[in-house]
Structures are given as structure tokens and as C-alpha cells.
Amino acid sequence: MQLSRDTLLKAYRLMRTIRSFEERVFAEFERGNIPGFVHLYSGQEASAVGVCMNLTDADKIGSTHRGHGHCIAKGVDVRGMMHEIYGKQDGLCGGKGGSMHIADLDKGMIGANAIVGGAPPLAVGAALAIKTRGEDSVSVSFTGDGGSNQGTVFEAMNLAVVLKLPVIFIYENNGFGEGTGHDYAVGSRDIAGRAAGFGMPANRVDGRDFFAVHQAVKEAVDRARAGHGPSVVETVAKRFGGHFVGDAMAYRTAEERERTIRDDDPLKIFRKKVTDAQLLTDEQLDALDQEVAQLIDESARSAGEAAFPTLADLETDVYVDY
């Protein structure tokens, strides 16, 4: 299917925004400006963007601990995210959530999740709400290769099939769960291959290639919107960095990482495709790079300057009413 120039520009802008966001978060973390645990998405941009460009704000996504890319792809405000990751009062979650708990319900982003396997049952629930109201929206859950072994994820898949819910289970196979290889932790060595046993179609695609992800997910989303139920898409793309910022990555070789960063960059791959096909020009893309760089720069600067929450904020937002 042909994608419009605007669509391609949007896709590139989003992928670039994720990349620049993550690079900046890395740098600021190293400088000691960002606290806690941060898990970066660099290298997997085509997965989040390829998935979410099939979605509207009415569609829901449930994310993981590595959620920055999913948030940005779903249209969550980058500035609010950066302020949140800095722990600031005007962050998207008032500084109470942090990197692993960014949510923006208005954008259909029902939450990053620091519990591996936490999101799929929730995404199934969002799909149940959609079906109960008779809407044609869909719900998407993101899970990693490591997380694909969590019992909650299997239960979610089975329930989605039983109730024929509009859910798409995205498995982002980035090669590792912390320092453990996917071929070790997944006994069958085939995540997508499990779907058949649960009664769902599945598709494994090159997670470095926006077009491959976008097309496979489009089919899954169309199917779900049409009321034909859930399906699985596995996107394969290694993360460039460690599990979290600070991970020594001893489980990877220097060569493998260099190779990955050199040859498996979703942005490079996208740029080559669209320029070779003369759909977009390097000038257009460079211009976007500039815009995004400014946005990220502005976000980080304002996040650095913003105020921290205070004692008055500590005990609010626990209950609607108590």
C-alpha cells in the first residue's frame, strides 16, 4: 500500500523524535540530571511508530518499562514526558510516575508499566470496554521477548481469543531480556509461533523496517476493527544500548553492538528507502532533524529549570475521594 508523503514525513519525524529524546535522556542521565531507572528505546523506533501510525487517539496502547518510544509514537507531549522523567511538578504525571509510569489517557496511552507482563491484561480490558460500547477502536499491548514468558501475558492472549476482543499483541523482540537472550528464555525460540496454540494469527516482521511493521499491524488492526478478534505481531529489532542506562552490557560483544548500530538503524533504513524511491529528499529529512533537535533541546532545558513537587503534593492523587 502506498503511503502519502505526509504520512512518511510524520513517520520519520516520530522516529527521529524518539531517537533524539532517548539520546538526550541518556546524556542528561549521565550528567546526573535524571534520577531512577531509564530504559531506552533507540534501535526499535520503527516498531513503535509502525504500530501507532495505524492508530487514532481513540485506540488504546498499554506499554512497558521501555515506554518512551510508545508514548511519543502515540502522540504524547514530549515536553510533558521530559519534565516527568526529570521528576518535576509539571511533568505529565506531576513527577509521581517517572520514566516507567508515563501515561496519557487522552491520547489513549494507558500507561508504561514497570511490571513485566503488566500491560497485556490491561490492554485486554481496554478492548473489552471498546467491544462493550460497540466502538470500532482497537487496543494494543506491547511486550518484550523476555516478557512474552510471563503468565499474565498468556492469560491475556487466551482471554482475548475467548471473548474475541479487538486487541493486537505486539511482541518486541529486541534480542534480550536484561542480560538473557531471547533464544534461551523462549523455550520454543519462536514467540510469534505461540499464537497459533492460542487460536490467533501471527506475523513476524523486520522491526527495523517501518514499512514492514506498519503493513503487518495494519492488517491486524483492520481485522480487529472488523470484529474478527485478536492477533499477534512480533517485531524483531535489537536495542542499541543496554537494558537500562548504566548496564555494562557484558552479555553483548563490542562487535555485535557496533554492527547493530551501523547496519540495523531504523532511521537510516527508512531514509534510504524513501530517498531511493524518491518519495522524500534528504533536505526534507534534514530539516525535520533540525526541528526535532530544537524541540528536544527546549524540552530538556525547560525540564531542568522546572520546579520539583512539594510536601503539599505528597499525599494527593491517591483516591478520587477518601
Binding site: 491484561p121 490491561l122 480490558g125 478492548a127 492469560e155
Partner: protein, 335 residues
């Protein structure tokens, strides 16, 4: 007022709210029953019949039988609540929380805080608690302390059919996640229950006996036993006040403190092992905020620090009895 069982009172509460609000759905194992079977639909209506008849009126789209997958059930309820429904999820026996607790205590309970006050998660989790069924170690627990300690959850433990209906309606209309704990030995308990809908607000204790010598705090099935002990001791000239907080979170500490101010003596009855129990929680709060009113040690009457035994001979000794409650009251009354 018509006499009804607690089972019927709960069933009416669900029916009222499902008629009133199409966003209310039920899900759980055999909440209808008969899915994919040759026999009748509505074959179960919940293992102990509380949801009986609802699938007939509201259909399988709103009374949803699920696989045995409690994490998916609770997660689906939490996710659906985040997305605008008001799900009532049935855990069946509370003892099963161990296979789905994350979705309750790390997910539903924490959304609002972690998301900076933007999330609303109006779900109700119903579960059966308590002993007396000779159901053994994995089907007889109460576990209310495990929910009470979790910020973000509200916890309800009705002690009568009347309270059960009013509190369940409140739970369904409430915008926060509510854990609604029904004592399985109380489903056939009869009491006056209005036909129409009514709510009982959370955090408002009910004084089931007025007295001046000793304050007894109890919830759920223990309220009836505390009342029996109070009636027994009246004959001995000990005037007992029984306070039923109805909800453990929020807890109506003020009413408890008021009563202790009057009596100067406190006994807390809790069907639970003693460590980090609700009995300990209430005793500690009074020892901090009502200390100057106390004329005697605070005595807690709980189960021992053991799992629930199966044998009737042991289970009867395991649960707080009217006699054990009465003995505790006598002990402090003498002081």
C-alpha cells in the same frame, strides 16, 4: 421491611446498578455458568449463587464467564475501568489473590497516583472470605489486611444483608477501586432489606450495641459474634459497645476513639492470623491517638499464627468464638 438473605441483597444491588448504568458489567468464572455447555445458561450464577439470574436479564455481553485466569480477569477489569466502564470482577475465593495480586495492588491501586491524578479506575473486586466451611488452608482465609495496607484501594466487609446491599451499591458507584469482601458463611443470613436502591457511605462505623464499660471493634461475621458476646455479658453486668467500621479502608477511627474515650477499654476481634492484622492496625492507632483514654491493655482476639485447618474440630477452635470474645472482654472489664 422485607426479610432477605445476604445473597439476595447482593444480587439486588448488582441488578439495580446494572439497570441504572450500562457501564456496569460483571466478569469472572461462572458468574453466569454454562458457557460452551449443552445444558442451561445461568447454570451457576457464581459458585454460591450471588449473581444468579443476572445473565438472563442482561445477557452474556454484560455477565461474562471467563477462563480460569485471574490475572487476566482482574487486569481486564482494571483496564476496562481505565477505559470508562464500571466492571465488577469476581475473584470467587479471596484465597486466589496470589495468582492475580499484581493487577490489583500494583496496577489498579496505583494508577491514579502514578499517573498524577489523571486516572479514574472505578472497578469492584468481589471475593468470598472466611472460615466455617471446612474448606482447608487455601479456601478459608480472609486476607483483608493484605488489601487494607495497599494505598489506593478501598476495602469493604459487610456484616449484615442491609449493609451488604447499601455498601455494594456504593462500591459500584465509587470512582476508586474497591475490594468487596463477602463472608461465605453469611450468604444465608437473613435481615431486613429495602427493595429500592440505597447507599451506605464508606468510612462510617455502625454501632451495633451501645455500652459504657468496654468497646469491641469487629467486622463481617465477627460483628454477630461480638453482639452475642455483648448480650451474654449484659447478664453479668458488663455493658459492651460494639463498633462495626464496615470498611477497613477508609477506617472510621474517630468513632472508635469516641467509644474508647467513653469506655476506656478496647477489644478488637479479627478473623485473621494476628501478625500485621487489622486487629493490630486498629489497636496501634488507638495506642497512639487514644492512649490517654485507655484504662487497660488493648486485647486482640484473632486466629492463631497458623494456616486454616480443615478438620471441623480444629476450625472451630481456630476462628474467634463468642466465648473467646467474652473472655477477652471480661479480662479488660475487671482491670
Amino acid at each position: 421491611m422485607p426479610q432477605k438473605s445476604m445473597r439476595q441483597a447482593l444480587n439486588e444491588a448488582l441488578q439495580h446498578e446494572m439497570r441504572r448504568d450500562s457501564k456496569v458489567i460483571l466478569l469472572g468464572e461462572d458468574v453466569a455458568g454454562g458457557a460452551g455447555c449443552e445444558g442451561e445458561d445461568d447454570a451457576y450464577g457464581g459458585v454460591l449463587g450471588v449473581t444468579k439470574g443476572l445473565v438472563g436479564e442482561f445477557g452474556r455481553a454484560r455477565v461474562i464467564d471467563t477462563p480460569i485466569s485471574e490475572s487476566a480477569i482482574m487486569g481486564a477489569a482494571a483496564g476496562a475501568a481505565l477505559a470508562g466502564l464500571r466492571p465488577v470482577a469476581d475473584l470467587m475465593f479471596v484465597d486466589f489473590l496470589g495468582v492475580c495480586f499484581d493487577q490489583i495492588f500494583n496496577q489498579a491501586a496505583k494508577f491514579r497516583y502514578m499517573f498524577g491524578g489523571k486516572a479514574v479506575t472505578p472497578m469492584v473486586m468481589r471475593a468470598m472470605i472466611g472460615g466455617g466451611f471446612r474448606a482447608g488452608g487455601q479456601h478459608s482465609q480472609t486476607l483483608h489486611p493484605m488489601f487494607t495496607m495497599v494505598p489506593g484501594l478501598k476495602v469493604v466487609m459487610p456484616s449484615s444483608p442491609y449493609d451488604a446491599k447499601g455498601l455494594l451499591i456504593q462500591a459500584i458507584r465509587d470512582d476508586d477501586p474497591v475490594i468487596f469482601l463477602e463472608h461465605k458463611a453469611m450468604y444465608d443470613m437473613m435481615g431486613e432489606v429495602p427493595d429500592e436502591a440505597y447507599v451506605i457511605p464508606f468510612g462510617e462505623a455502625n454501632f451495633t450495641r451501645e455500652g459504657k464499660d468496654v468497646t469491641v471493634v469487629a467486622l463481617s461475621l465477627m460483628v454477630d459474634r461480638a453482639n452475642q458476646a455483648a448480650d451474654l455479658l449484659k447478664k453479668e453486668g458488663i455493658s459492651v459497645e460494639v463498633v462495626d467500621p464496615r470498611t477497613t479502608s477508609p477506617l472510621d477511627l474517630d468513632s472508635i476513639l469516641e467509644s474508647v474515650e467513653k469506655t476506656g477499654r478496647l477489644v478488637v476481634v479479627d478473623e485473621s492470623p494476628p501478625r500485621c492484622s487489622l486487629a493490630a492496625d486498629i489497636a496501634a492507632q488507638v495506642a497512639e491517638h487514644g492512649f490517654d483514654d485507655l484504662n487497660a491493655p488493648i486485647i486482640t482476639v484473632t486466629c492463631p499464627h497458623t494456616p486454616s485447618p480443615f478438620s471441623p474440630a480444629l476450625e472451630d477452635l481456630y476462628m474467634p468464638s463468642v466465648d473467646r470474645i467474652a473472655d477477652a472482654i471480661r479480662k479488660v472489664a475487671k482491670k
